[in-house]
């Protein structure tokens, strides 16, 4: 049972385009939603994260949009570049996941392979 559903599985855009990756969740206890970026041959790394008290967060060319009522969140990459070609994972964790019994665990989506063509 996949708790966080991510789409699309793969995406190809032209340089300068705005790829959008979507994620949906069911567990209303989730309250932290990060995106991880993974380049080929490397481990994932945190890209940007959001809490549900805001509907949007921007960091440089990367924006998370969050719709609490729909239980959906998405990643937008403005002015995409070939260097953005990577696999992107959305994730979620519940309130107080830092408590020892929970151990800061994350539930990951299946990933989206993004290719930006030059």
């Amino acid at each position: 049972q996949q708790q966080v559903k991510q789409s699309p599985q793969s995406l190809i855009v032209q340089k300068g385009g705005i790829p959008i990756i979507n994620c949906a969740y069911e567990n209303t206890a989730f309250d932290y939603f990060p995106w991880y970026q993974q380049f080929p041959g490397k481990g994932p790394a945190l890209l940007i994260a959001i809490r549900p008290d805001v509907s949007e967060k921007k960091e440089g060319r990367f924006t998370i949009s969050f719709n609490k009522s729909a239980k959906q969140f998405s990643l937008h990459i403005m002015d995409s570049q070939p260097g953005d070609s990577a696999t992107y994972f959305c994730a979620a964790s519940p309130l107080h996941s830092w408590l020892m019994e929970y151990g800061n665990k994350l539930v990951f989506g299946a990933g989206t392979i993004l290719r930006v063509k030059s």
Partner: protein
Amino acid sequence: NAGVTQTPKFRVLKTGQSMTLLCAQDMNHEYMYWYRQDPGMGLRLIHYSVGEGTTAKGEVPDGYNVSRLKKQNFLLGLESAAPSQTSVYFCASSYSGPFGGGEVSYNEQFFGPGTRLTVL
């Protein structure tokens, strides 16, 4: 700081062989994790640890064992490898508590470079 390191980087095993993957972190993190990554399935948690001497099962623990004898190390063992365990394995570590001021990255997990394992 080296961050999170994993050894080995690559390994080929025959069915039934055993091996141990080593993860080390130098960030003094309490929490550590082992994931496997398979195409179309994302990152799935195998086991995790909330401190030295503790371990717990994740989403896909069968066929794996772990140990956390030292805070900085987390070992993943395969006692009798099977072809279904062919995968890329990632170790990660994390801080053990929230930060003040509404910091959203307190859950950040820091990943190692991965181990590509093939079981024939």
